[in-house]
Symmetry: C2
């Protein structure tokens, strides 16, 4: 990240430092978040005052509340920090947030340089291999050249110059360097899901418990409840794997455009759409993974709690994904704002723009969907691609209209835009963003299926598709009822009946499906997840070989004395 | 637990060992679960063959798959184990599961005794202070007297004698010694919830982020979305605290009956009802806590991930509650079976029995509820106690009838009872148990409110009541629509609108409410949860004082060499 900043936002004069980075002669870190400002990064308080006498910037942390925190590598390793600070010129004018390269530690002895208090933040719930650090600055002077000056600079005599007139546009570009990460995190989440499910589903196929008669026990995967806990998750995992691959290709196309300095309208639209997707794909994938890991851990019973089966560590490793690269709940508002603003245009013009990723195509069906009647008679009328896409298109049209109307009414009742948007989150904007993401998963999977040429795979792909789709639809059943697309008993009964039947079918293919996506045993590395199914042998071996398993308490007399009432003698 | 077993299921001859336990001269542990059998404890495979020649039992583990596992204190500390094993008399007859006291370690040196392989299972996701152990037995001989013989015994010449004729009844009593724990775990869960919410809500009241204009930031608790993430959880936490207190009193009454050897019908009914409740209160409270801790951790952003704020450890400490004392999903079937069997009686007789805890009173309204029409016009028609109780009574009558009908149809279609029950879990029996529990929370809180004499508390108690109640009702909205109690847009719109309004009201009292239930600061012990609100000072102090925060990497040259491409020199 440090090197990316130097390359993207630095200029010729930062090339020597970049080379030292590449040669591992210095170590960089990225210092944006402060103790008091995370999501609202614009309001960070660290200052950089320019002193024309010495041609230096003076970096200061106004109060300890403004300390830089969560800086990866800062705790122990970094020698230089890219510090985001509010830039002040000698005339007292604040020019907003800029980036300054601040030396932190001596590159030979690693001792702290004068004026900085830098340390490690302390243990975390996980990812303790990363030395997240904190920093406060007290009149730390750095050369004028240490400012990254691609988007704005200070002349030696202290005048601010920038190629951009619009400060907010500069802010956008400066933060732009952060957006790739979310595509990667979406992929991380899909991988974590994959790992958790590989262990839980293999164990479920082997683990026998209870049965119709004594001594005649059944694998727990044969139970309806266990199927329902794991099969929709498996289907959704395939959806995310496929989506993540497609989305990465979208990003690759965008990055190619960046490298080739493509200034076209298409490139700009593609960037906006990738932003809109990544701001909801990271949240929804990481939340889904959180829930899937938890369900898998529980589905493995007590053995799921053993560290060796990795669920505890997976949970702790996935956990920060919910927060970093943008807090999930805050981040998704970027997506809902994007959609609501597109809908506003549509409401005014009745036009749906063609965009690179076709994210708004559902709006073409908006009028049709207003008149949509679901014609459900039996399972086959439910389990076909057209009905499913109709339901999703109706759903997103319904929720976008409902959210827009509520927002519009708030504005018309005199609420300011900030308040109106905030009061529109629960049950509206947040639901809109999630439904948008789920529809995208379904849509991209359907596209993938349509390009499949192996007919023998069709039945299982359809089962995955319908299982995931019905799971989402069931979750949003209230909205279908609210909009009177569902009425009375039939639709939900048919959906839920189909869902448990699909799960029962899918369980027969579950091991084949898992074997197709699971990492090799030495990577999966869980006793319960061995691909041979010899889980008890693996679990027993693991216990026998656990470090210290057979250590003997040396001081048993002391233990007994300690616990005997009244016998604890003071040593003072 | 070991001592409880000796006291309850042992006889006079086990008194010396019990005394040694009380004097901490020996340490006991409880060995039931095996690697291959957890939930289905009846099918454990460890054997105890009686040898009349030496008047000994011979304890064996048939295969490593039948190793005892998860035995608390066995890993390092225990000298004796209470081992559950299948008892065989010399005539080759198996008399089912009995308990045998097996010496494991020498009480002086703590070395293992011959024939046992005992060790610690290895690291877990949490609770690593407990040395959970595993054990296999190879022809371990113990004296005849080591069998706990209150409910069955073997004579010196090898005949089995028992005061009970019915083996399954003996099994029930032998497992009865385990049932208290779930009442305690329900309370644990309520405490964990309390701790997580104390930190997250106090932080939310202090943490400012974004605002209507620059430099004019708002506490995050002012945001609708943040309120919705924490306020229903706060209301539900109060419900659980109240329920847990009431339930403990029910248990205390039952235990008094046990001590006084009460053999009345009432005592027996009370026992059954406590069992039916504890089999769902432990699952639902521990799941709720899992979700609340997770939401609180996320609501604290990155700081929530710091170990010092305890969410990671709370999550890991609560996690085993989902599994031990009965796997949540398996355990709840005890409750749904109890309810469905009561409903079967009711369907036949139209009589609702009076029981000590009145758990079935809702059935008295069954016919009334079949004709129930919700008359919603505005908020006041929704927010009154009668409407809420009507909705819950309708809901439980609806789901119990639906579950019963489905089960009945399965049986009539020729499915055996085992299969029919299993195929009735998802959307039916499981939902029934959860709804039963939620209705109980609501009902017990309403009873508590009716005994409140401080009128000034009424508004806030009502807010807690309605917030939790509407949160549950919203969750089950699909069922209300399925049963046509809800139709179209109005009911769900009114419920959701009221819910966000109640959250907004409740946030004004949130800190007072938290202060009334939070432990003192030195117990809560989280920087974000300090009762003074000085969270940044506390967080900064915590970082400064974190062990090793300022340690310097000694061998920087080595680090740089290591990471420089191609420069890593072999030391071989």
């Amino acid at each position: 990240m440090f090197e990316e900043l130097l390359a993207q936002l630095g200029t010729e004069r930062h090339q020597p430092l970049l080379k030292m980075c590449n040669d591992f002669e210095v170590f960089g870190c990225f210092a944006l978040t402060e103790l008091k400002h995370g999501s609202n990064a614009k309001e960070i308080k660290t200052t950089a005052h320019y002193d024309p006498k010495t041609e230096e910037f003076i970096i200061n942390t106004p109060t300890v509340e403004d300390s830089k925190v969560w800086v990866g590598n800062l705790g122990k390793t970094a020698t230089h920090a890219a510090v985001y600070a509010q830039l002040y010129t000698p005339d007292g004018v604040c020019h907003g947030m800029h980036i300054f390269i601040v030396p932190i530690r001596d590159t030979k002895t690693m001792s702290l340089l004068p004026g900085v208090i830098v340390g490690e933040m302390g243990p975390k719930a996980g990812l303790n291999g990363i030395d997240n650090g904190f920093a406060t600055f007290n009149n730390v002077r750095i050369p004028r050249e240490n400012m990254l000056n691609r988007t704005g600079d200070v002349t030696p005599d202290g005048r601010y110059v920038s190629p951009f007139k619009d400060q907010s546009k500069r802010f956008g570009i400066s933060l732009g360097a952060l957006s790739n990460g979310r595509v990667g995190l979406t992929h991380y989440a899909a991988c974590f899901m994959n790992i958790a499910l590989s262990t839980a589903i293999r164990y479920a196929a082997v683990r026998k418990q209870f049965g119709p008669s004594p001594g005649n026990e059944m694998p727990i995967l044969e139970y309806q409840l266990h199927q329902y806990r794991l099969m929709p998750a498996l289907a959704i995992c395939f959806m995310w794997r496929n989506f993540s691959n497609v989305f990465f290709c979208n990003l690759a196309e965008f990055l190619m455009g960046l490298f080739t300095k493509d200034k076209s309208e298409r490139q700009s639209e593609l960037g906006k759409e990738i932003h809109a997707i990544s701001c909801v794909s990271k949240p929804v994938s990481s939340w889904t993974t959180q829930q899937v890991i938890q369900e898998c851990r529980e589905a493995c019973g007590g053995q799921g709690y053993l560290k060796a089966n990795r669920f505890g560590d997976l949970r702790n490793s996935n956990d920060p994904l919910l927060t970093f690269e943008g807090d999930n709940n805050v981040l998704m508002q970027q997506t809902s704002n994007h959609l609501l603003s597109a809908f506003e245009d549509f409401a005014k013009t009745s036009q749906v723009p063609e965009t690179p990723l076709n994210l708004l195509q559902f709006l073409k069906r908006f009028d049709e969907m207003k008149r949509f009647k679901l014609n459900l008679t039996d399972k086959s009328s439910l389990l076909n691609h057209k009905t499913i896409m109709d339901l999703f298109d109706w759903l997103i049209c319904f929720i976008i209209k409902q959210s827009y109307d509520k927002l519009d009414a708030s504005l018309k009742s005199g609420k300011d835009s900030f308040t109106a948007r905030n009061d529109n989150q629960v049950f509206h904007s947040k639901s809109l963003a999630i439904i948008f993401m789920e529809r995208l998963l379904i849509d991209r999977f359907l596209q993938k299926m349509s390009s499949n040429t192996d007919k023998s795979l069709e039945p299982v792909l359809n089962r995955l598709f319908f299982t995931a789709a019905l799971y989402f639809i069931d979750k949003h059943a209230t909205l279908f009822y609210q909009g009177s697309v569902f009425n009375g008993d039939l639709p939900i009964r048919l959906i839920r009946q189909s869902l448990v039947e699909l799960c029962a079918e899918l369980k027969c293919e579950a091991i084949g499906l898992i074997d197709s996506i699971a990492p090799p045993d030495y990577v999966l590395n869980t006793p319960l997840g061995v691909s041979t199914g010899e889980v008890y042998k693996a679990s027993y071996t693991n216990m026998l070989q656990s470090s210290g398993a057979f250590d003997i308490i040396g001081d048993i007399e002391h233990l007994m004395n300690k616990t005997r009432f009244g016998s604890l003698k003071s040593k003072i």
